[in-house]
Subunit: 387 residues, 2 copies
């Protein structure tokens, strides 16, 4: 099948507890994307802009997308905010691809942003909490760590895996984050430290949970045939797949499988016309370490129950057969909600162009990104190839 | 140019202060859209669903789009929430059109929803307020009525128009709403009552302001060539145009013109390949009466300063040369934020099929909808034709 779209530029702020305002983060990510375009960039060619954000720092909540046009220096450009909780960025990318596919947008801008650390912790809990299911789970006091803790406990019991598999995800992703100058955490973590850390929601400990981060990331998307004026090395979007699931985890037949991820993955592979074996590496949504194991299985990269042994065997390390989260993942790079799905594609953009520096993978021809909303109620999967 | 998409079904709840929950409103609007499809409907053909909402009743704020799949009876379908404040519905429609244009979605569902009356007034102010510009205007205590009041005062002074022109918009739209069984207000209002009502934000009085409403509306969108299996009378989408503007009104050169509306209108007409004169009637975003006058001018249906005399002369009445808001508009039909842009297209669907009952217009061949976010920072314009 033909390419569906091309990424011709990508930008990424530092992730972490940052001093910048939301506007400054937007601008910095967009400027980074613009600066990464090899040649011929003209802001006037941007025909649509998408903003992925959950709460915009609890500040400009309604109509915030208009600020993207201001900060991008593209007055008047149509802007739209999209929100699917933690999957907002992945879905925004899909809308941008469709905008160029529809033939009436030459260049689409996607920006993901979250500013979480300068709001009160009460408000932050509110913004995070509202993405959980409200009618039952929030009423019962279940936080995201709580939901994933229950899922993890069931997974470990069901498949006879122990916490070392979870710890191995943390150790690997922290090792990768240590090589990423944009990562929230840039320090390795030992297996002993991960296993010995205070419990947050049993069996999940401190190092099983991603941090609360600020940050932004941006992409410039063109139609495949329109990419060459901007660069000789575009990164192509080959396939899109998205899906939803019951919002309440309790309504799903089996909580250790995310049906939305499975369906989104199947659709993305069908849309790309590719097999699992064609993928060199993946960026998976590891908001908690257990989530990386679930994703490996739901996407068909590991059999049920086999993601733990696969991880313990080193296959998902940078030097393994199937590297996962070479940028550190949500776990170490950080998880500024709306930015995450966009930032995953940023990493793919670097890796597939051989521009990932110290963390460059030896083989990076095709990649997959996987972005999940809440505890699996929405999921977006995207498949990319090197130009 | 060819049609861009086809509406094959549309649904609309009552607007007003309603007892239903957000889930119930979603379901009722979707069921209405499904019931309106003439034949051959199969939920499994829905390939994407869009939810337009600002606050989902302040209840399920994050990841709410997954609930659309639940209430539509389409488990697993990709869902996405879009939010551009009061323009969310119009932008959601555009995304759905692009989804079918991209060729990989057969049928797209668009649902707009707001539930505003069962939250505390403080929380409602919060949800409305957050769509105003935060850095300056909200800090100064400026509400939406305040912003539009200032715009109205300037408009009246600049063009030598008096408040009777504003009152005429209210009288007309209330007269139309009286014929719409879904309208929030179904009672006529006299010119004297409109002019004599208490002032809200001078020169705007009570009847110059739209109400705070609950409600939902839904559309089913197909590719043009895929519409006939569902109906012999699809309503075609001929053109889309959208734009943004500075979020803060104070940063714009002239507050009595909404540059986003002007640009969105120009793009929509260019995209449709049609002249203004081809449009039989319009659904314009009359959140305040002054906004209908601005829209007539910004969209090129009246010269600058001429919308007042045009309105006073009766041209925009149901029996006038260019009917505006035959369903009662935001003013009388109500304005459940996320639902509004979708509900405008619902009215077009009825009118262009000759199914608008007591308020059916004698000439309804092509129509335009105009949906504005906040005080003009985002705008979506759509042009439709009868099948």
């Amino acid at each position: 099948m033909g390419h569906r779209a091309a990424i011709v530029g990508a930008g990424h702020t530092r992730f972490g507890a940052l001093p910048q305002t939301p506007r400054e983060l937007l601008r910095q990510a967009i400027d980074g994307a613009v600066a990464s375009v090899d040649r011929g960039f003209d802001r006037r060619r941007i025909g649509a802009a998408y903003l992925a954000t959950l709460g915009f720092g609890g500040w400009q909540i309604g109509n915030a997308s208009a600020l993207v046009a201001e900060e991008a220096g593209t007055p008047g450009v149509p802007t739209l905010r999209v929100e699917n909780a933690c999957a907002s960025g992945g879905f925004a990318l899909h809308e941008a691809v469709r905008a160029v596919e529809s033939g009436n947008v030459e260049l689409a801008l996607v920006v993901g942003l979250e500013k979480m650390t300068d709001v009160s912790s009460a408000r932050r809990r509110y913004w995070l909490g509202v993405s959980g299911e409200t009618e039952w789970e929030r009423q019962a006091g279940l936080t995201f760590a709580g939901v994933y803790g229950l899922i993890a406990a069931r997974y470990l019991a069901r498949y006879g895996v122990d916490r070392t598999a979870l710890a191995e995800v943390a150790v690997k992703n922290h090792a990768n984050g240590a090589l990423n100058p944009n990562a929230h955490f840039q320090k390795p973590v030992s297996r002993e430290a991960a296993l010995g850390a205070p419990r947050v929601a049993d069996p999940l400990g401190l190092y099983d949970c991603c941090p609360v981060s600020d940050g932004a990331a941006a992409l410039l998307i063109a139609a495949p045939e329109a990419a060459r004026p901007y660069t000789d090395s575009p990164v192509y979007v080959e396939g899109l797949g998205a899906a939803s699931d019951a919002l309440a985890v309790q309504e799903r037949p089996e909580p250790t499988r995310f049906e939305a991820t499975r369906a989104a993955g199947d659709r993305a592979f069908r849309s790309a016309g590719l097999e699992r074996s064609a993928i060199s590496f993946a960026e998976l949504h590891d908001c908690f370490t257990i989530a990386e194991l679930l994703a490996l299985e739901d996407l068909g990269f590991a059999d049920r129950g086999a993601a733990g042994p696969m991880t313990l065997g080193g296959a998902t390390r940078r030097d393994g057969a199937f590297p996962v989260n070479p940028d550190g993942g949500l776990k170490a790079k950080g998880h500024p909600i709306g930015a995450t799905g966009v930032a995953q594609a940023y990493e793919v953009f670097l890796q597939l162009r051989g521009a990932a520096g110290a963390r460059q993978l030896p083989r990076a021809e095709r990649a997959l990104t996987h972005n999940v909303g809440g505890a699996g109620a929405t999921a977006a999967v995207t498949i990319f190839s090197a130009g």
